[in-house]
Symmetry: C2
Subunit: 491 residues, 2 copies
């Protein structure tokens, strides 16, 4: 039919192989949904098929997925979402007036009054206004500009987009991204995918996973030998480590970023998840502005929030926002262009984000129920945070920092020399070996510390505190028993 002028190389085989694919993608690691979780899914299937196991069900404490662990959605949120989805329900007197008003307001901001229309790429205008108002209220009146708000497909999307903007240069001038170790693996994965340089700074496990400026300094100095570190990422409250940063620490970090010309990314998706006494959430934005114009007019900061965590746990909706502060206007125009390529974030996620930042107010019909549900969830989490720390610390060979916030504990585990050797002989990280055994023997699914990063020679696992209290107790006691048996077996 048509003459071939030139014979390409991969003749015969596949066009796309692991040898000819994007090399950066190959380098991506993602432990939270890695081999342990794949095995857990398999085991669940085996159980269903009647395969006998020493347990009846898999308990997934590997991922911060509240609803999957039985948490109920907030009634008001789902009522408004149902009204937005099927506006015929606006005539139904089973729905409270405040829910209807919220739905009407959101629909009025949608093309053709439908959440089935594309929204503007930056996000629905009235939602961005509500987000700005929320931030202003939260931060004691420090103003927030709706034009600085971008709605996102979960916080993940926003984080990747900002890292993408920041990635430039080659070799020694390649962008370095400073991330805490342990970290949430979205960061390492995105850095690998973008071909940026991962620059580790270690949190201080001895001081409750706090952040030492001297360690930031060490890390930065070392990185400057081989790349151009330009970004400092902070997760507060911390995942996987559960610490809540003090106001002083945040101020020190901002000062450091200002001095060292670092772009700040503040991942604040757990901003309502603070449990420990004496701990309080301080947003980077607020602290920045309280430090006065020398800082607030200069330091470039993007902060991220999500519908997935806090008390609502609406992960499936993929709602989120970011606020960009002091971003160069030309870069901001580039950001707006970039997000427009994918058209828009999901409209239902945007609507849900709106409800989170514009929840029922005192005097509105849904206020009491809303507050009751919210408080119940947050108190249960606080209780489970405490319970987890307490029970884990009764196990010899497990040492657990207080779970001050977020949804995870990240205890340090002592593994016997023989277990470490056996794992290494198998080519496995020792804590992966441990977690895999735990899964096979008890059905408990955790993520090994090696998936998040940890100091050489230390071992950890990450466990969510999300299972219902009674299940959590069972889990913790099984874990205790397993750890003792494991230690004996390999001693």
């Amino acid at each position: 039919m048509c003459r071939v002028y030139y014979t390409p190389l991969p003749r015969g085989g596949k066009v796309l192989t692991v040898d000819t694919m994007n090399a950066n993608v190959k380098k991506v690691d993602y432990a939270v949904r890695g081999p342990i979780v794949q095995r857990a899914v398999q085991i669940e299937k085996e159980l269903k098929e009647g395969v006998k196991k020493p347990f009846e069900e898999v308990i997934k404490a590997n991922i911060g997925d509240a609803h999957a662990m039985g948490q109920r959605p907030i009634t008001f949120f789902r009522q408004v979402m149902a009204l937005c989805t099927y506006p015929q329900l606006l005539d139904d007197n089973k729905f409270p007036e405040d829910a209807k008003n919220r739905a009407r307001r959101i629909l009025q901001s949608c093309g053709g009054n439908s959440i089935g229309a594309y929204t503007t790429s930056q996000g629905i205008e009235c939602v961005r206004h509500d987000v700005a108002n929320y931030i202003q209220r939260r931060d004691g009146g420090i103003p927030s500009d709706p034009d600085n708000i971008y709605l996102t497909t979960g916080a993940s999307d926003g984080i990747v987009t900002i890292l993408k903007l920041l990635t430039a240069g080659e070799g020694r001038t390649r962008t370095g991204v400073m991330i805490s170790i342990p970290q949430y693996p979205l960061y390492s994965a995105s850095i690998a995918e973008l071909g940026a340089v991962q620059v580790n700074y270690y949190l201080n496990e001895e001081k409750c996973w706090s952040l030492d400026i001297s360690e930031l300094q060490r890390s930065l100095q070392a990185a400057r030998e081989h790349c151009n570190p330009r970004v400092l990422c902070i997760i507060n409250p911390g995942n996987p480590t559960g610490q809540v940063q003090s106001r002083q620490c945040i101020e020190d970090v901002i000062q450091f970023a200002a001095k060292e010309n670092l772009f700040l990314m503040a991942d604040e998706v757990y901003q309502d998840n603070v449990y420990a006494e004496g701990c309080e959430f301080h947003s980077f934005k607020k602290v920045l502005f309280e430090m006065g114009p020398e800082y607030s007019s200069k330091v470039e900061l993007v902060s991220f929030h999500s519908t997935s965590k806090c008390y609502m746990g609406e992960c499936g909706f993929r709602g989120g926002y970011m606020e960009v502060i002091n971003m160069d206007p030309e870069v901001k125009a580039q950001l707006t262009k970039l997000v427009s390529v994918r058209l828009c974030p999901p409209a239902p996620g945007q609507a849900l984000m709106d409800l989170v930042v514009n929840s029922p107010k005192p005097g509105e019909p849904s206020y009491q129920t809303f507050m009751m549900e919210r408080t119940a969830i947050l108190s249960a989490l606080a209780e489970k945070a405490k319970l987890t720390e307490e029970i884990l610390n009764t196990v010899p060979g497990i040492r657990c920092n207080p779970v001050q916030g977020a949804m995870y504990s990240f205890p340090c585990i002592t593994l016997p020399e023989r277990a470490i050797n056996e794992a290494k002989a198998k080519g496995q990280a020792p804590d992966m070996f441990y977690c895999m055994k735990l899964l096979e023997e008890t059905g408990i699914c955790l993520v090994p510390g090696s998936g998040f990063g940890q100091r050489e020679g230390t071992y950890h696992f990450r466990m969510t505190i999300l299972p219902p209290t009674d299940k959590l107790k069972i889990l913790l006691n099984k874990l205790k028993e397993f750890h003792q048996k494991f230690t004996q077996q390999y001693s």
Copy 2:
């Protein structure tokens, strides 16, 4: 506080500027939401503020956004979505039983029976099964494997992900991606962002925007001088050009891809949008398998679908899927890992995709209403496709191919020399100059052909056929009048 060991370069100014940002992102162009649309939004604000204009409203015919143009959602889809969102409604006898059954089935496949839970990264299992069944039915029984289905955040997400996997090499070995000109600008934008090489092949405007293999051959040969062309992207039915490919043409393309070792990407988001007599939608998958094992066991193909187009037009939900055929298993594992980094596509979009592929069946209570709504929308579109072609072709200086499918016409416009010169003097593409004037004088918002690519020296615009028929008529007549005036003015 801490000593500075090393002074980074961008001291004083911003860390992130257009000079220090990701250079690939800077190269991205995205016309569908470019300057014309920004100006349209401004004009809308001005109208609201009472600024006098020669028109009362902006008519946005720039984007394939059906609901924004007044199309109503399919009742059944929204009922099921409301039930999934607020399951208390399952007790409400206002909802038909088939809607309730669909909702129950979807919820049972969600963690904790909530669409607020993260789904598996590849997508909800029962949805992937339903997608596979749909493809099998659509393609006359050719089997489809749910393991080959990946749910996505709109088709956009799937397309970008596959292009990402395929981008590798440096300089002369850099991946080249063949795209039709005119094209849907997601492609050029993603290629620029990934730093791949855009390889243009031109559709044949004289033959109703059909695809000539000789042109593919020319384009490929030229590209092999400077890059490694490995991917061939096809949009069928076409955006912005509205053509529907013949079965023979698809077979030729597949043969060409097989011979030349090209990875095929088939963008089939308009698969239900076929209007012209004698035209029919043939999926690449079906044709590939009908060509026998020599092809069906070899050619690598990914096809894309979406909830955004066809008769449902549910753009805001960001639902979509892709089916990967003959993908190397190791690459597939890499793909699964890659999509897991962002956790999952929006669960409501997944649920909606499920309804599209598993719509009411004969005998079910919602069947008749569903079919009535679907047919009404598709017939109206067919009528508007015809109307658009007819009216545009009455205008001297406008030549419009039949709108065989999709949602757009892409007529060729003759611009007077003086207009071209004036535009160039302003540094504007001549068709941008034309569209901007059209917007200012009539309130009609179109996208200039230069945003999609066109043969040097030709000018076009893209117009959607989505406005309601009466509005569309007004629009077309205003456009006619404008074109005549414009031609006179610059002659």
